[in-house]
């Protein structure tokens, strides 16, 4: 006869063996707290009304300001409750740490597969994101107020929204967007490939956009639909200088963790559009030429530009992500965008390109 080792307790740290009961008990605690207090904000996002519970007015202001909200949206809507809290607030203890077991993100993902729970442990800040997909309850549990990851201000609640939308066949996608008359293209590729600058330049020259970094992709009949999730746009000082915006956008703002300035489309005097019908994938690169050009590329090249960052910048959902990104690439024409140096040229070329798409 063999005796099973006793399951580790949370006091010993979290391991793959006690991850599920820990997630369940943490969500239970969060729900108890949310029954006691009133939501600090109600956020109207695509398909979901998020009640945000937090005693940190800074985080509430951040989420209210930076998430793209559309109060006029009709159709089926779900409700979601998210508690953002930290040690000692709301009666919660210090978030438990990862135990002695080796941490392996893929095994962590697999341990939660098939359960209603999704989770992420932020090893630098020793904080947890936990989400219950069956009841749409989320918990961001930090060491102290504002002890969130440096990328959180640019895309608040991103991790929860990733899990929520993935479970419904949609996907937060690492891409910029440009469109005209409702027809759009996704700009995909690694950081530094020129996505964000091209989006900002396009918006300044009359093109539409639903975002420059992360957008929500929804498979719909015919072409996929891209929607805004975050209001923030980003550019470093060089980019702002090239766009002629350094003296306006760059004044009075601090650079973020990437050395970029965060601003809103309204700072450019335009608004993001509520949706774009995506008709093509564009993979930009800085060509070093004067003029911008568009050429056809293979689907394999587009997949290499789209999938890796979208899969690995987000916790979990990697298998479904591969399938969705591959289906997207197969459904759309793929092009390389050789970005020239002449101001406004890329926007003119992209506008003409979009007009010619079916």
């Amino acid at each position: 006869m063999t005796l099973a080792a006793p399951a580790p307790t949370i006091d010993d740290g979290i391991t793959l063996r006690n991850l599920l009961p820990f997630a369940a008990s943490a969500i239970e605690q969060a729900e108890k707290v949310m029954r006691r207090i009133a939501p600090a904000a109600r956020l109207s996002l695509h398909g979901v009304d998020v009640s945000l519970y937090s005693q940190d007015p800074g985080y509430v202001a951040l989420a209210s300001e930076r998430l793209w909200q559309n109060g006029n949206e009709t159709g089926r809507r779900e409700a979601c409750r998210i508690l953002v809290t930290s040690t000692g607030v709301d009666g919660l203890m210090t978030p438990p740490q990862w135990g002695p077991e080796e941490f392996h993100s893929r095994r962590f993902e697999k341990a939660l597969e098939g359960s209603p729970f999704r989770a992420e442990f932020d090893h630098d800040r020793k904080s947890w994101h936990i989400f219950d997909l069956s009841r749409n309850i989320g918990l961001l549990w930090m060491q102290s107020a504002q002890a969130f990851a440096p990328w959180e201000p640019g895309s608040p609640l991103r991790v929860f929204l990733h899990w929520f939308y993935s479970a419904r066949g949609m996907r937060l996608t690492h891409a910029g967007t440009l469109g005209r008359n409702g027809k759009g293209a996704l700009l995909i590729g690694r950081g530094g490939s020129g996505k964000s600058g091209t989006v900002v330049d396009g918006m300044m020259h009359g093109l539409q956009s639903v975002g420059d970094d992360y957008v929500l992709l929804e498979p719909t009949d015919g072409f996929p639909t891209a929607r805004p999730v975050f209001r923030t746009l980003k550019q470093n000082a060089d980019g702002l200088r090239r766009l002629g915006l350094l003296e306006t956008i760059g004044v009075g703002r601090k650079e973020n963790w990437q050395g970029k300035y965060e601003f809103f489309s309204e700072d450019l005097g335009v608004r993001m559009t509520p949706s774009l019908s995506i008709r093509a994938l564009l993979v930009p690169h800085v060509a070093g030429t004067q003029h911008t050009g568009v050429t056809s590329i293979s689907q394999a090249k587009a997949m290499l530009a789209l999938a890796p960052s979208g899969l690995f910048q987000m916790p979990g959902e990697r298998d479904s992500g591969v399938a969705r990104f591959a289906a997207l690439v197969r459904s759309l024409p793929c092009f390389g965008l050789a970005l020239g140096s002449q101001s406004g040229d890329a926007s003119r070329v992209i506008g003409d390109f979009l007009d010619a798409l079916p």
Partner: protein
């Protein structure tokens, strides 16, 4: 691991492979490595995971382009080294399929595997135990 001419293989654990018009994009969802595979390499990889006889495939590919014979060794070592394929002890040899032979005859490009490790560098370190505490993840501790 080295690929054996008489061995049978399957895709490695956590390896995801997508075929785009005969060109494979391979992603290792555990390590973060991802790969671009040339058309001829994709044909060989496709044949390996379908259980076709390795030696027969080499002969067929080399008949279409003799230089392929020299390229296959390095390519096979790479896909084995990155655990894109692993031994399948339960599979039995399958005869070459007509569609595979046709693809092999059309595969005239060099047999290449392009490796991308920009993301793997960030995610393969155990962020809890392998990390320099002062610098934080993904800075590895000095050995």
């Amino acid at each position: 691991m080295v690929l054996n001419l008489s061995g049978r293989y399957k895709l490695g654990t956590d390896v995801s492979c997508e075929n785009f018009d005969g060109e494979y994009v391979v992603l290792n969802l555990a390590t973060g490595h991802y790969f671009s595979v040339s058309r001829s390499g994709s044909t060989l990889l496709d044949g390996l995971v379908r259980g076709f006889d390795f030696a027969e495939m080499i002969e067929t590919l080399a008949a279409a382009r003799p230089a392929m014979r020299d390229e296959i060794g390095a390519f096979a070592a790479q896909i084995a080294g990155y655990a894109i394929v692993i031994p399948d002890l339960e599979a039995s040899a399958q005869p070459l399929a007509a569609d595979w032979i046709r693809a092999a005859h059309e595969a005239s490009d060099p047999m290449l595997l392009e490796v991308f490790d920009d993301i793997a560098d960030l995610i393969t370190a155990d962020p809890i135990h392998d990390t320099d505490e002062a610098a934080g993840w993904p800075i590895k501790k000095e050995a």
